[in-house]
């Protein structure tokens, strides 16, 4: 983590809050969103994420409101991610063929997804030929059991892993803990989240919702560091000292996969910390967990994605490490677990299958004005932000029935998506699904039905407008601005005009034509 002093003064939306300096510490300008630090005597508590009550619908806006009620967290979160968006834009302008690359990436993914059986079998043949042991998991439980089986066969007590959204999706860490296997995350952000017993809030920068003070508190509690020292270099060093010995003596190493290359049977993992290489190369056994949608046909295709991935994600030309794993090391073992967990069902959904093109760059989160103001934990799901709004309901349409409404449908997510997923259109399509499958609150549905009836009857509509204008004009302020009127909580209502356009036209342009 770095909280470099990178945002330009002119771009600060809240200069009155930011009296900042860099506060020292290494600046990873290319790898992290910069934001100014606030000077504050009292430490602001980190807001927690969405309240989860079993299968009941997650209330994103409730959690978002709590996030915004913590002004330092809200401000820095917004600025860090906007900074990533600006860096992305600069990288994009350095590539004249950017839009063609996006089209190409989209076409390659659509090609592979519509021939998924073929490419997965090709990958399997080539991986086996390379000496990789291949496993197929139909769901999260099977994935976890397969990995546990490998761990048990090697009688391992500790497993180190790099960040993988798929393992989050599978509840892997919790499962292994109940089986008595110690898991050590090697990605710094993910390690922070693990130590704080929190899910990642973002697919690329998992602890981006935390301030350095929050990290100092987590490390003080779990690693025994100085609670009052929030210098990033100090914190990173303490974590490294505490975790390195555990990494060096781990029995099993695990990584995710950014890409599976069918023609070579190889796995490609992109990181900035080199931590996937630690996970893959230090222990004698390397397990790769990969969703089946990660397969691409050829090594040549990879170039298209590598050019887009880090530029879209962090606004850097490339990740520090792009590691190719094609087979086990001499004397070692390499396993690939190919996981479906709902993906083949999603592939059959006419309006939503293209969400499988996602390469998990997080650009849609960085640009999303709602995500930036809400924090990723407000979505209460493995995948936050715009992409999460269209993926999570495929896992549980009831629990995630309200998520598609946490969007203004502004479309910026679709425009930044390097594989051209029509994210905002899919968000709108999910709203329709929720409405038609009775996953919408009754009150909201009833309001919409009433509006639809009224707007279809011009005469009644005119009476209603006159009554509403009259109410605005004549009711006392306390009757208009109350808790039932959510518009008026933080906004003024427009002043009612002397007459509607309709009335003006009638008066000035004569009778009905």
């Amino acid at each position: 983590m770095s909280e470099g002093n990178g945002a330009r003064d002119s771009k600060m939306l809240h200069p009155e809050l930011g009296d900042a300096n860099g506060q020292g510490g290494a600046k990873l300008q290319h790898a992290e969103g910069a934001s100014k630090n606030l000077q504050s005597r009292r430490r602001e508590a980190q807001p927690s994420g969405a309240v989860i009550r079993g299968d009941r619908p997650v209330d994103q806006s409730e959690a978002a409101n709590r996030f915004m009620a913590a002004p330092e967290h809200a401000k820095i979160h917004d600025e860090r991610l906007w900074d990533l968006r600006e860096k992305r834009d600069r990288q994009m302008h350095g590539i004249p063929e950017w839009e063609e690359l996006r089209t190409l990436a989209s076409e390659i993914k659509e090609h592979a997804l519509t021939r998924l059986d073929h490419y997965l079998e090709l990958f399997e043949r080539n991986a086996l030929a390379n000496g990789i042991q291949l496993h197929w998991a139909k769901d999260a439980a099977e994935h976890n059991q397969i990995v546990l089986g490998i761990v048990r066969r090697h009688d391992a007590k500790r497993l180190i892993k790099s960040k993988s959204m798929l393992t989050e999706e599978c509840g892997f860490r919790e499962f292994m803990q109940t089986e008595g296997v110690e898991i050590i995350e090697t990605d710094l952000g993910e390690r922070i989240q693990q130590l704080d017993d929190e899910a990642p809030s973002h697919v690329v920068v998992p602890a981006v919702h935390k301030l350095r003070g929050d990290v100092a508190q987590v490390f003080a509690k779990t690693l025994g560091s100085d609670e009052d020292n929030d210098d990033p270099a100090y914190l990173a060093e303490r974590q490294r000292e505490a975790t390195r010995p555990l990494i060096l003596s781990a029995g099993i190493g695990m990584t995710g996969a950014n890409f599976l290359v069918a023609e070579s049977g190889g796995v490609v993992v992109c990181t900035n910390e080199g931590n996937a290489d630690l996970s893959a190369n230090i222990p004698p056994v390397h397990i790769v967990s990969a969703g089946i949608e990660k397969v691409i046909p050829r090594l040549d295709d990879l170039a298209v994605f590598i050019r887009l991935l880090s530029r879209s994600a962090l606004g850097s030309p490339i990740t520090q490490y792009t590691s190719h794993f094609r087979g086990p090391r001499l004397g070692g073992e390499m396993h690939v677990v190919l996981v479906d967990n709902g993906r083949s069902t999603r592939l059959g959904m006419e309006k939503f299958w293209t969400s499988l093109k996602c390469i998990r760059c997080g650009a849609c989160m960085n640009t999303c004005p709602v995500f930036r103001r809400s924090g990723g934990l407000s979505y209460g799901a493995t995948y936050a932000g715009p992409i999460g709004m269209i993926i999570n309901p495929t896992f549980d349409p009831h629990k995630y029935s309200r998520l598609p409404f946490s969007s203004t449908l502004n479309g910026s997510c679709t425009n930044v998506c390097p594989v051209k997923i029509n994210i905002h259109e899919q968000i709108a399509a999910w709203r329709q699904v929720m409405s038609e499958t009775h996953e919408m609150p009754m009150m909201k549905k009833a309001m919409m039905a009433a509006a639809g009836r009224l707007l279809a009857q011009p005469a009644l509509y005119r009476v209603a407008i006159a009554a509403a204008d009259s109410a605005l004009k004549h009711l006392p302020r306390f009757a208009v601005y109350n808790r039932l009127n959510s518009w008026g909580r933080q906004r003024e209502l427009p002043a009612p005009p002397a007459e509607t356009f309709h009335a003006w036209y009638k008066r000035n342009r004569g009778a009905r034509k």
Binding site: L13, G452, I465
Partner: protein
Amino acid sequence: MRIGLFIPCYVDAFEPQVGIATLELLERLGLTVEYPFDQTCCGQPMTNTGCHAEAAATEALFVKNFSRYDYVVCPSGSCAHQVRFHLDAIPQTEAVTAVRAKTFELVEFLHDVLNIDAFPWAAFPHKVSLHNNCNALRGLKIASMSELNTPAFSKPRRLLEKVRGLEFVEIARPDECCGFGGTFSVFEEGVSARMGQDKVRDHVQAGAEYVTSSDSSCMIHQQGCAARAKIPLKFIHIAQILNGAMA
């Protein structure tokens, strides 16, 4: 050429001067403009909320009102976008597809259909921040978008450049949504208002006296935020400036 004037429900109820300016501007350009009395709305509030079936009767009424015109012109990109891209809760008869194809947002209509390149009657000697509604921007593509690596252009800006004395100011996050979002503004009030406050702040820091847009919905929202914070920022629809409003 017969023009059907479509006045969005919120313009009718809250911003009649925007409707009047649109009408006068089109008439000034020599067009025959009619306002069908039985119009109400394009159906967007329901569609936007996922309630397509509930929008069907409103959509049918829209088609009935506007079928007889050569063009339908509307001072809102959001509503024009709804008609052109989402008016599909009813059977797509020839009449329906015809109305959808001939419905234009005012800026598009002036720029693409009429090719107007002068507004000799218009002067607006003020510092102005231009706000594009997201549906107008990313749906109707009235301007190039900051997320895409495509040649820069802006139809509203090209029109406003013909107005004497008007000076543009540039905000830090030009294409950032202001948080109105239709029913989002009431169902997700907290984030909506925060986005509006941030947008207003951005305009103020850029030195804007006025904000202009081809959509009143975004401006009603932003004006509400500015008014609550007692920020003396002024809002004016692009139709009013082009029609020669002297501020």
